[in-house]
């Protein structure tokens, strides 16, 4: 007890000492010591957003957070896909596929992510031809040093009434899935729930699409004098950050997936084969559930790493939250408080991801045991 009190006093004293230094140093230099700077006007603009310089620093940080989350979500999605495929490829029966996958993994994994980001930004995307002679693939994508443009969907005037239809289609699909699973559990008949629910989803979607008079249309990028119009444009920074983080994180996910698949005891595979399960069912019902249980916690860790690595974008000038905060500091926001806010933002994001993954993980573990 005495030891604890002494320890607490020592730690509190140390922190208090630092804070009092902070306070006196800041006021000695005429810098404010509270968090009021968040409400002051930012005085800088953020490229590719509607943010105006008169808006507050708080709003700027929110825009930065939005960009961080956008990169993180896109990155997590694609890194999972690439990583899982690569992990499986490393165990392929085909020698060449195996080798190709391990060359990729061993090359990218051992290079710092910041170098990968710089490489894709300076040596790949920015060396693409200028917009006048951009690389066009089949008229649907335009790649230039101004960014990568992909086709997307654009909305026509009456489109707002289409979103409820999308929701309805979604609900129909889910309800079908649940109903079919229950009746299959009861009767033992095959449920066909995947086929039925996807089918109904699309039936509702397509019916709504035509009834509302085709509210959406494909938007192909068109090359103009000063850039492209239409389509989904990824600016060079976003594109290189995304590609680099996906390729880097995917190598780690691939190693986890490979390890998890190898960690399922061989006896399980052999037993499943002995029971006469075909290849696909063996994977679906025997190998994957066990491998997933091993792989989910470390993969979640990689999601967190990817999210934290989005901060590297500050080096290439992409305005995610670290970049925005460091610009704000350059514009006169007090550094200690600003970076404290930054750390808080990341803590919130990290804890949210952990919480989501923990829920998923709990379901997975319960199901298996």
């Amino acid at each position: 007890m005495v030891a604890q009190v002494l320890f607490l006093v020592a730690v509190a004293g140390f922190i208090g000492f630092l804070l009092s230094n902070l306070r006196s140093n800041l006021s000695a230099q005429g810098i404010r010591t509270d968090f009021g700077f968040l409400d002051q006007s930012a005085g800088f603009r953020i490229p590719d957003s509607s943010f105006r310089a008169e808006q507050s620093v708080r709003d700027a940080i929110l825009v930065g957070m939005r960009n961080t989350i956008a990169v993180a979500l896109v990155g997590i999605l694609f890194a999972t896909i690439v990583g899982v495929l690569t992990g499986i490829a490393r165990l392929s029966r085909n020698w060449l596929v195996r080798k190709a996958a391990s060359v990729y993994v061993e090359t990218i994994r051992n290079v710092p992510p910041l170098v990968v980001i710089f490489f894709f930004w300076l040596a790949v995307i920015l060396t693409l031809p200028p917009i006048e002679d951009a690389v066009e693939w089949f008229g649907v994508t335009v790649f230039s040093n101004d960014g990568l443009v992909f086709p997307s969907v654009s909305t026509k005037p009456g489109a707002s009434s289409f979103w409820p239809v999308v929701g309805l289609a979604f609900v129909t699909g889910i309800v079908t899935w649940i109903v079919r699973s229950r009746s299959s559990d009861r009767t033992g008949d095959p449920s066909h729930r995947a086929a039925l629910s996807t089918g109904l989803f699309f039936v509702v979607l397509v019916a709504g699409f035509f009834i509302l008079g085709r509210p959406l249309e494909a938007a192909l990028p068109e090359r103009g004098e000063f850039g492209t119009t239409g389509g989904l444009r990824l600016n060079p920074e976003f594109a290189s950050l995304g590609i680099a983080l996906v390729l880097y994180t995917a190598t780690h996910i691939a190693e986890i997936v490979r390890g998890a698949l190898l960690a399922v005891p061989r006896g399980q595979t052999e037993a499943a084969t002995a029971l006469g399960l075909p290849n696909r069912k063996r994977l679906r019902y025997v190998i994957l559930p066990q491998a997933l249980r091993i792989a989910v916690p470390p993969i979640a860790n990689q999601y967190l790493n990817l999210t934290k690595n989005t901060s590297l974008a500050v080096a290439i000038g992409f305005p995610e939250v670290t970049g925005v905060v460091s610009i704000a500091v350059g514009q006169g926001s007090p550094a200690p408080q600003s970076f404290a806010v930054l750390m808080l933002v990341y803590l919130v994001i990290s804890l949210t991801i952990s919480a989501v993954v923990n829920v998923a993980n709990r379901r997975l573990v319960l199901k298996g045991r």
């Binding site: 230094n21 085909n94 080798k99 190709a100 170098v115 990968v116 710089f118 989005t310 080096a315 200690p336």
Partner: protein, 418 residues
């Protein structure tokens, strides 16, 4: 009750199934062509792999304009280190290579694991090549790029020193192997002192690979004691201590290193009393790296602490050891031995993470790659590919080589094998 002596006989280790060696034709069929979709994969991946190999080789040997790397080789290795003092770096390299050769030689006398990687068997030169080829590639690249007889001579001399140390180490009796480990630590300290003391160059003026390696080694060495304390604190019975350690570890792990580096660079000066001079920017970066790594080391060490069987602690208490002695003599040695490979892994990631401090304008390896393309001679010529590929290559050599060595270490220590 009679005890059957049969039960005490060692259980014969089941023989590993003999690997099938297929004749080349069958092997190709089995691994590349059958069934039909495998053939498709082979064609697709074969074409892609050939194309990538072609592009890489063409870049390295034909189209790459390596002039920028050649001219700036010293910058890449040591940054803006005062050129008149470069001999100190060479002396330090000699001392450290000698000690590491000695350590490796001492270790090579130890038993080779039966199921080691395949480069463990065969004649000595092949084993050396199998283990050291990434390093060899790096040294060769540097020698070729330098193109100066003096540098190549020095590199050869360094290599010879390493080999001499190795030979010497092989004579070290196995019981004295600890000496070799102590020698490497002493050599690192001595190397640092040679460069710094007696009119030397403080690390604030180092750069390039030298600074990268210094930051990585100093970072892991200084964060290790902090990490061990945090790990012990996290397992403490005192709730206040535990809460503070958990808080520190979780906050640091939830925050990107770059945010900490910014915090360190811009805020440390404000946190010190006004009469204390603010440390230079490299030191502040190093402090951020240490604060960051300590949390990760703590988690690794905690894993090791949890792997020590309870019986060990109970037995230690039963023979009357004090709590401090239980931790120091029984728990920590076993826990730390179990986490050596994970610590090497953390060292590798620290080695890669040092690149982040290029963001605050320090010219470590990546920082050099960024500033040389801004030199008047090379400005705006699109030479980023060359410089970035060169530094990636250096990082790759370091990280890849160390990860292979760590896998080897894992096999030797028998951790990770269950």
């Amino acid at each position: 009750m009679a005890i059957s002596t049969d039960a005490l006989e060692p259980v014969p280790i089941p023989e590993a199934p003999v690997a099938r060696r297929l004749p080349p034709r069958e092997w190709i069929k089995e691994n590349l062509l059958a069934p039909w979709h495998n053939a498709v994969l082979t064609i697709v991946f074969g074409t892609a792999l050939l194309y990538v190999t072609f592009r890489v080789l063409r870049f390295v040997f034909v189209t790459g304009r390596w002039e920028i790397v050649r001219v700036n080789l010293t910058n890449f290795m040591a940054g803006l280190f005062p050129r008149a003092q470069l001999w100190r770096v060479w002396v330090a390299v000699f001392v450290i290579v000698l000690a590491f050769g000695f350590r490796l030689g001492a270790a090579s006398a130890a038993r080779v694991p039966a199921e080691g990687p395949k480069w463990e068997t065969g004649p000595a030169w092949r084993r050396a090549l199998g283990r050291g080829w990434p390093l060899g590639l790096f040294v060769t690249a540097v020698a070729v790029l330098s193109g100066s007889g003096k540098t190549i001579g020095l590199i050869l001399a360094v290599a010879a020193t390493g080999v001499a140390g190795f030979r010497l180490g092989m004579f070290l009796p196995p019981r004295r192997r600890r000496w070799a480990t102590i020698a490497t630590v002493l050599a690192l300290v001595a190397g640092f002192q040679i460069i710094v003391s007696r009119g030397g160059v403080g690390y604030g003026q180092w750069g390039g690979l030298l600074l990268t390696l210094f930051l990585a080694v100093a970072g892991i060495a200084l964060s290790f004691p902090l990490g061990v304390l945090l790990a012990l604190g996290r397992r403490s019975k005192l709730p206040v201590v535990r809460a503070i350690c958990v808080g520190y570890i979780e906050v640091i792990r939830g925050v990107p290193l770059l945010a900490l580096i910014f915090m360190g660079t811009f805020a440390i000066g404000f946190l010190l009393p006004s009469n204390v001079r603010t440390p230079d920017v490299v030191t502040r970066g190093l402090i951020a790296l240490i604060a960051f790594t300590a949390a990760y080391v703590a988690e690794i060490v905690r894993g090791g602490l949890q792997s020590v069987p309870r019986g060990q602690i109970e037995a230690a208490k039963a023979v009357g050891l004090s709590p401090l002695k239980v931790t120091r003599l029984i728990v920590l040695p076993q826990a730390l031995r179990a986490v050596i490979p994970a610590l090497v892994g953390q060292f590798i990631s620290l080695f890669k993470d040092t690149s982040l401090i290029a963001v605050i304008g320090i010219t470590e390896l990546l920082g050099v790659a960024r500033f040389v393309t801004k030199q008047p001679d090379f400005l705006a010529q699109g030479l980023e590919a060359e410089t970035l590929v060169f530094v990636s290559f250096i990082y790759w050599v370091g990280a890849y080589w160390m990860s292979r060595e760590s896998r080897r270490l894992e096999l030797r220590l028998g951790v990770g094998v269950r």
